[in-house]
């Protein structure tokens, strides 16, 4: 068991380090100079060289690349990612400042998405009408195929501009989070629902269900008591993908609804080649990603006895 934990933890640490190094390399391989992006692009050729030098010095961009890497890595280990090139604020506080907004949005969207996905799977499994099943089973692919951008704007047109039920932008109070929640939940619900529909169908035709039938259990009872429990477990395995969907979706949702958050911060940091900020965000996301996967890896044997047997056997 200890070896299993050590292995998984080591892999998580490697992922975070690799993410840090890769962004560093990418940002330095990119042709644009981050210092140039601090000036008005149309006035670039009139910026005196000594000014450019002074600005580069301010951010340590003049040091040898390897030294910069070591310097940044050393500081990063203590949680210090330096200051944003664009705003001058410490990276950690820039991220922490917008983090609650994104957490609230993604946690809410996740709950909504899971409820919707379970609902879809339950309806698809329990219905006896083939056409209802077909319609419901088509929903997840639909949810995955509609771009967040489009669904966001459509939702806004109807519920904000036409009906005036919810504010169109900003984050004043709970009413303003409703539309972003729905927008973000749609693409996140898609893959979960697809997986659940499939595993519900598989479990529904497995041996223990036949036994339950034989014992005289009702259709509803079987689905809720036996199938739901066993079929939900695989959804955990795509927790990483779900997290990725939440992050990607939040970039667009936050932009369409003009909310502050990690997504918009990321987009802006990349557009302006804000090296320290991009690195801070990437490491933050990588750490979250690694932690989620680690958590799933560690908790899975506890939930699924079959996995426990595999882990025991490895000892």
């Amino acid at each position: 068991m200890l070896r299993y934990v050590a292995l998984k933890t080591g892999r998580a640490a490697f992922v975070v380090w690799a993410a840090f190094t890769l962004t560093f390399v990418l940002l330095f391989v990119l042709p644009a100079n981050p210092v140039d992006l601090l000036f008005d692009p149309t006035e670039l050729n009139t910026v005196p060289p000594e000014v450019r030098e002074q600005v580069a010095d301010n951010y340590g961009f003049n040091k040898p690349v390897l030294l910069q890497y070591a310097d940044r890595l050393g500081h990063a280990l203590t949680g210090d990612f330096g200051s944003s090139v664009q705003s001058g604020r410490p990276v950690a506080s820039a991220i922490l400042d917008v983090l609650p907004e994104t957490l609230l949005l993604s946690a809410g969207a996740l709950v909504l998405a899971v409820l919707a996905a379970v609902g879809i799977a339950l309806v698809a499994t329990s219905t006896r009408r083939a056409w209802v099943r077909n319609v419901v089973e088509a929903l997840p692919s639909g949810a995955v195929s509609v771009p967040v951008f489009l669904s966001g704007i459509l939702i806004l047109q109807v519920f904000s501009f036409k009906l005036g039920w919810f504010p169109a932008f900003g984050d004043d109070g709970p009413r303003s989070i409703v539309l972003p929640l729905i927008t973000l939940a749609i693409p996140v619900a898609g893959p979960i629902a697809q997986l659940l529909v499939r595993s519900f169908a598989t479990e529904f035709h497995s041996g223990y269900v036949t036994t339950s039938w034989a014992k005289g259990a009702t259709r509803g009872g079987i689905i809720l008591r036996d199938v739901l429990r066993n079929a939900s477990l695989p959804a955990l395995t795509i927790a990483g993908i779900t997290f990725g969907n939440l992050i990607a979706g939040s970039v667009i949702t936050e932009t369409v609804f003009a909310r502050k958050g990690i997504g918009r911060l990321t987009q802006n940091a990349i557009n302006t080649l804000d090296v320290p900020l991009v690195q801070g965000i990437v490491v933050f996301v990588a750490v979250s990603f690694a932690l989620i996967n680690l958590f799933v890896d560690l908790i899975y044997p506890l939930l699924d006895p079959r996995m426990r047997a595999v882990v025991e056997a490895q000892k």
């Binding site: 601090l38 000036f39 005196p48 932009t255 080649l273």
Partner: protein
Amino acid sequence: MKIERIGMSDLRSSIEQSAPTRRKWPWIAGAAVAVLLVAGIGLAVGRGGSSAEASDDGTPVRGGTLQFALIDYQRSPDPQWGTNYAESLIGNNITDKLTWQDPDTGEITPWLAQSWEYNKELTQFTFHLRKDVTFSDGTPFDAAVVKANFDQYVHGDQKLGINPNGASLLPGYLGTDTPDQYTAVVRFAKPLASFLQASSFTANAQPGFLSLSTLKLSSAERADPKKIIGTGPFVYESWEQQVKTVLVKRAGYHWAPASIKHQGEAYLDRIVFNTIPEASVRTGSLVSGTIDATLDVGTTDEKPLADKGFTIISRGVSGTSIFFNFNSQLFPTNDIAVRKAIQLGWDRDAITKTVLTDSYSVATSVLAPSVSGYADYSGSVLKYDPEQAKALLDAAGWVPGPDGIRAKDGKRLTVKLLGISNLVVNKPAYESVQQDLTKIGIDLQLSVVPIPDYTAQVAKAKTDWNITAANRSRNDPAVLNLAYGPQLGNASFLTADSTGIDVAEVSATLGKLELTLDPAERKAAAKAAQDLLLEKYALVSPIYNPAQVIAHADYVHGIIFDAQSRNHFVDAWKSDGK
């Protein structure tokens, strides 16, 4: 509110209409007519009501909050820093400048400086300051403040993490002397006629005055808007990165520029600058009444908004037009015949009709018409004359190939252009030029890319790109020297061995713009500079004049576009005062 209600009835009627049955249609039509009638009456009553309150005589109403929308957000509340519109626009309303450039005449007029004089060499500018100006924390505005601001603005402060934001606006700045409390003498190493205009500059990284306590703050500490103290008509209430900035009026303000007729406190109690990146959300919010006004109105949104009763106001960006700068070193734009053929080879009417709105115009010089010294070249080289363009190319030995594209000594007439996609008009305008040039045998290849990619490519422009397409915002003819001066921007990459170009002549002609402030002499210098760039050496083909466009509700009044096309709200008011 009224508008919202109309929106709902529209939807209701459309829902009703969406389930028609044949027998019911007369009834539905009747209902629709009734709904429309009610809506129309509601609108008329609403309008009538508001215009009655709005005091048709134009007497401003005090009070109220203006909800304003724009694309960008302020990355820091520090106004001396910043490269986007949100940053410069908000900076203009919390700080003041030494002088005010009249947006109509281009004349430099008094503001925080009551009067000024300069030496004959234009290396020393003496400003006599107003004595009644205070910062919002009560401290006085005086010569020491001017010195401290300019020093930090030009040199930056490494310890505080402050960049030299003003170094490119004030090249050769030596220092500021303070012979008495209200006199500031700004000294330069070289003549700098354009400094007078720079003292009024309201665009990116502007010289707006901050209190001594603000200047002592590090860049991180300047993230607290309450600590950013200016002398302007508004003060910060809050700043929420990515979301909004809220300003409230400064009590006791009474030093707005004399050419704004209203010098006293702002009429509005509060302005909320909402950042809304999505165009459809900005216009939707305006139409639904959530916001009162929005900047960054797209060309395709102007007419629909005007049809709905919203007012469109705009001002052309002062400085250069959007230009095609030719690389004078690189084949084939090192051939003056090619440069001249491009100037003549595209149809101005086509762009006006298909791409531009009334807020924009086709360029008739490299300077925008609002810049003093502008001259009109639409009668000479900046006109569509494909026959003359072909004749020029024929004479220079460019022979049409099998696909219609010309070649000379086996080399195709392919011209590579690098542009920025930040303005929506750019790409369609360039594509229109591209189509026309193909007809005369020039293959114009477009790379119109986002800002970071553009920035990366500009570094290689000398060897890789025949044309760079951009503009420069600076309402002073010396912008030509900044952009094209061989020792400065050198946008055409002139060197001693540029084919057929006398570089010394270009340096001298453009440099003259910094040597005089005499209006007649400056006008002559500006004309000479334009003659050289457009006619004699054909170093640039100006395309169109960009504009800043605002759409606002009919109850909003008095939004000012200044000489740099940034907005001031000291004179703005709402009819309902809410």
